[in-house]
């Protein structure tokens, strides 16, 4: 758009100039604008329209009265949530699991992509890729069943560790082990799948740069550090910013399949807590209130991450 900005020094009102610029741009790129319409419609219908339903967070929602007809209760549900006895614990667990997952889970697929990139044997490359993203396609319920069985007192993993001096208790009965089990199984399940985008980014790096580096005498390691990594850094940054926007969204499915009261202190997160509450009452409004709180915090984190990233390395979502 900017290349079409009028070059005149005349100061018209911003509004007017924008309108004029828009009309001129529209005439030039009519097809592009038409192509945008379905996308805008999709977001309007499926993402923006349902948002008005979020107001049930401030109401005592009853389906028979409808969203508009239900009684207002103000911040009651938020108060209930924040003043809950376990609020700080579940908030802490949610943030910690998220932080650990960013520390350990986020770099893993990048490393795998870099390693796969160094392999010269095409068929070996393919086999590794296939095997690494296989677990992603197994149902979560099955995965959690496997994790439970492996880590039980007579399970495979437990037995292995027992030779190394572990005391043999089912690992999911030890609060201290819940997060490691959770994060490691998460890596095992998703590393292959999430490395695909990086491998795709790697394919886009200009091969001539490598040739030039080789002529200058750069080793394989130096090539990786100075060409490969900078080449996929924008992708990494974007993925990281997106990841930050999911800070409070620790999925409850895997948690509730793995946790038990002994590990509540390290495993109980916002979503699993709300799920348990939801079993007791159809807490549509309460769940919406918690969901809204999550969204607000996630939005703040996302904007901050984007802002910092834009300042530091000039890559950002917007």
């Amino acid at each position: 758009m900017s290349k079409l900005a009028p070059m005149t020094g005349v100061q018209t009102s911003v509004n007017n100039s924008f309108k004029r610029r828009f009309i001129r741009d529209f005439k030039l790129n009519r097809l592009l604008y038409i192509m945008m319409i379905p996308v805008i419609l999709y977001y309007a219908v499926f993402h923006y329209a349902p948002m008005y339903g979020a107001i049930i967070a401030f109401k005592d929602f009853s389906p028979m009265k409808g969203i508009m007809g239900s009684d207002w209760v103000g911040f009651q549900h938020f108060r209930d949530f924040f003043s809950s006895y376990y609020f700080w614990r579940i908030l802490g667990n949610t943030v910690l699991i998220s932080v650990y997952s960013i520390l350990f889970m986020f770099p893993a697929p990048i490393l795998l992509a870099l390693l796969i990139n160094e392999v010269r044997n095409q068929s070996f490359k393919r086999i590794v890729q296939t095997f690494s993203y296989m677990p992603y396609f197994i149902s979560l319920v099955v995965i959690c069943g496997m994790i439970t069985d492996f880590t039980n007192s007579n399970g495979v993993i437990n037995t292995l560790f027992s030779w190394l001096g572990y005391d043999g208790t089912a690992m999911l009965q030890k609060p201290g082990l819940f997060r490691p089990v959770y994060i490691l199984s998460e890596i095992w399940q998703k590393i292959g799948w999430e490395s695909i985008i990086y491998i795709a980014a790697l394919a886009g790096i200009d091969q001539e740069q490598y040739e030039a580096a080789r002529i200058d005498g750069a080793s394989r390691l130096k090539q990786m550090l100075h060409i490969t990594l900078p080449g996929i850094l924008p992708t990494i940054t974007i993925m990281f910013i997106l990841r930050m926007g999911n800070m409070l969204n620790v999925g409850f499915e895997k948690i509730i399949l793995l946790y038990n009261p002994v590990t509540y202190e390290t495993a109980d997160v916002i979503s699993s807590f709300v799920y348990r509450k939801g079993l007791l009452e159809f807490g549509w409004s309460y769940s919406s209130a918690v969901g809204l709180f999550n969204s607000v915090v996630n939005l703040i984190l996302l904007i901050s991450a984007n802002y910092i990233s834009r300042r530091v390395n000039k890559t950002s979502l917007w």
């Binding site: 028979m64 039980n152 007192s153 009261p261 002994v262 509450k277 009452e281 807490g283």
Partner: protein, 530 residues
């Protein structure tokens, strides 16, 4: 607060039989029951889950002979919708949110968030007082003859809200309790344990001499020690893991000193390897495997789904094997166990309510009333004479079609095709169903053993909270149960010392347990005034 609803209530109007007014348009509305089959052109809609036994056998009510027969006999065409198995609550939730409700809803409205009174107030279901009075003579007659049941099936305000499942005999109220491997006991020369000390000795022997890795175990899903809620093992120390009644006061077991003694016992069992090491993660599949492979020799189970499931498998592997009921454990020989499993005559599952938006409420009531008539009672419990049962000396005996099905269906599955008697529904159950259904000698013997408790004295009646209190109560109990489960497991598994219990007691106060007890107590007072 709980003012009596103006108009006719059923209770206690014994003298003047209500046969008063017939609204225009209705054909038979008086003491005489509707004449079945009725003549009508209307089709009724019905939402309810199919019995779990039919999973993989039939996928729709319309294909099930029982429901075909029910429609034929009543003369009413019913259009059924069934939620997917194991997603009843989710489907129900979605249906409510849609606001489109069928005429009849088979759902546990007693457990509806806020209670049945709230379901009526929010406009989901209808209050049935007048309709029952006018069009449900059979059900009305039953309630009139059983005032103790009549008290249970209404709310504090006196509203009737459903056609409930009623257990028709004292012997049907108890069906769960401790079980143990009898053949192991015989081999080791031990009696069936009665006291806690005998249990400890027995479990030690199971571990040392029978090589059981987890001599005693309990399923931890959906809630850890789920099955100890009504007092097995815990009851020996005079408490349960739930609310109970003592001298007119509502008591919460885990906050009582006896609970600490129970924790101490199980902590010891766990440390000595008598209690399953994986007790926090055991699900029913693992339990099946442990029982049938001889890793576990004692647990707590159903006569049907436990003994009935394991006994044939165990016998198949070893003709001597047998798993039998053990009495609820006590501290000293000869005393009657204080607590045990005992359901209410009004079992809250299987009830059918009528949606507030139904245009055919009158017809639906007449249809549902059939289940409480003599003929309907036979159909629900035993099915069709000559097909699913035959009369032998006045005893309705199930045929081979059910008991040794030609299509190789298990009896439970075949029964669910032709009768409702082995699952809950809108009728009064007959003990002659379970006499034939629980036909293994071990099952026959179990019920009287488990029935020997004083539970009836300590049982809290079926209380309903007020709609206003129920959200508060649910909120508190979510925290309380989280705390109780956490403390119970941590102390038993040795993650925390036994003394930590005292610290937990303080925490129970900070999650407002006293307020929950207060709410319960108030509900109890209201119940007693019904």
């Amino acid at each position: 607060m709980a003012s009596l609803i103006a108009g006719t209530t059923l209770a206690g109007c014994s003298e003047n039989k209500a046969g008063n007014n017939t609204p225009s348009g209705s054909d038979t509305a008086s003491e005489s029951a509707a004449v079945y089959p009725m003549k009508t052109d209307s089709t009724l809609t019905y939402w309810g889950a199919l019995p779990n036994n039919l999973t993989g056998v039939k996928s729709a009510h319309a294909e099930v002979p029982f429901y075909q027969e029910w429609q034929k006999r009543t003369g009413v065409t019913v259009d059924f919708t069934a939620p997917p198995a194991n997603q009843v609550d989710e489907s129900f939730n979605v249906m409510l949110a849609s606001g489109e409700l069928p005429d009849m809803l088979e759902y546990n409205f007693f457990n509806f968030p806020g209670g049945p009174e709230k379901a009526i107030k929010d406009g989901y279901i209808m209050e049935l007082n007048d309709l029952i009075d006018k069009y449900a003579p059979n059900y009305k007659k039953y309630l009139h003859e059983h005032p103790e049941v009549e008290k249970m099936v209404k709310t504090d305000k006196g509203s009737y809200y459903s056609f409930p499942f009623i257990r028709g005999d004292e012997s049907l109220l108890t069906f769960q309790g401790p079980v143990i491997r009898k053949d192991w006991l015989d081999e080791l020369g031990l009696p069936v344990p009665e006291t806690i000390d005998e249990w400890t000795t027995t479990l030690k022997a199971f571990k040392e001499k029978k090589g059981a890795a987890a001599p005693i175990s309990f399923v931890a899903k959906p809630r850890v020690f789920n099955e100890l809620g009504n007092g097995a093992f815990i009851g020996a120390f005079g408490v349960t893991r739930d609310f109970y009644l003592e001298d007119g006061k509502v008591i919460f077991g885990p906050a009582e000193p006896g609970y600490k003694d129970f924790l101490s016992l199980f902590r010891g069992w766990y440390a000595d390897g008598l209690l399953d090491k994986d007790v926090a993660t055991v699900d029913s599949k693992v339990m099946d495997a442990n029982i049938t492979s001889g890793q576990t020799g004692a647990t707590w189970a159903n006569a049907g789904g436990g003994i009935g499931k394991w006994q044939p498998i165990l016998k198949g592997a070893d003709p001597q094997a047998s798993i039998v009921a053990a009495p609820y454990p006590v501290l000293e020989k000869g005393i009657t166990p204080k607590f045990g499993q005992r359901d209410y005559a009004f079992s809250t599952g299987g009830m059918v309510a009528i949606s507030a938006t139904s245009k055919n409420a009158e017809l639906a009531v007449k249809l549902l009333d059939y289940g409480y008539s003599e003929e309907g009672n036979k159909l629900f419990n035993f099915g069709t004479e000559g097909v699913s049962y035959t009369m032998e000396d006045g005893y309705p005996k199930f045929t081979d079609l059910l008991m040794s099905n030609p299509d190789k269906l298990a009896p439970a599955q075949a029964m669910s095709l032709y009768i409702r008697g082995n699952t809950m529904g809108p009728f009064v159950s007959d003990k002659r169903v379970s006499e034939q259904y629980l036909n293994l000698p071990e099952q026959q013997a179990a019920i009287p053993i488990w029935q020997k408790t004083d539970m009836a004295k300590y049982q809290i009646p079926l209380l309903t909270p007020t709609p206003e209190e129920s959200a508060e109560y649910a909120n508190i109990m979510a925290d309380v149960n989280t705390l109780v489960d956490e403390m119970t497991l941590k102390i038993i598994l040795g993650t925390e010392p036994l003394e930590a219990y005292d610290k937990y007691l303080e925490k129970l106060n900070s999650v407002k347990l006293p307020r929950a007890i207060e709410i319960k107590q108030a509900a109890l007072e209201r119940y007693l005034k019904r």
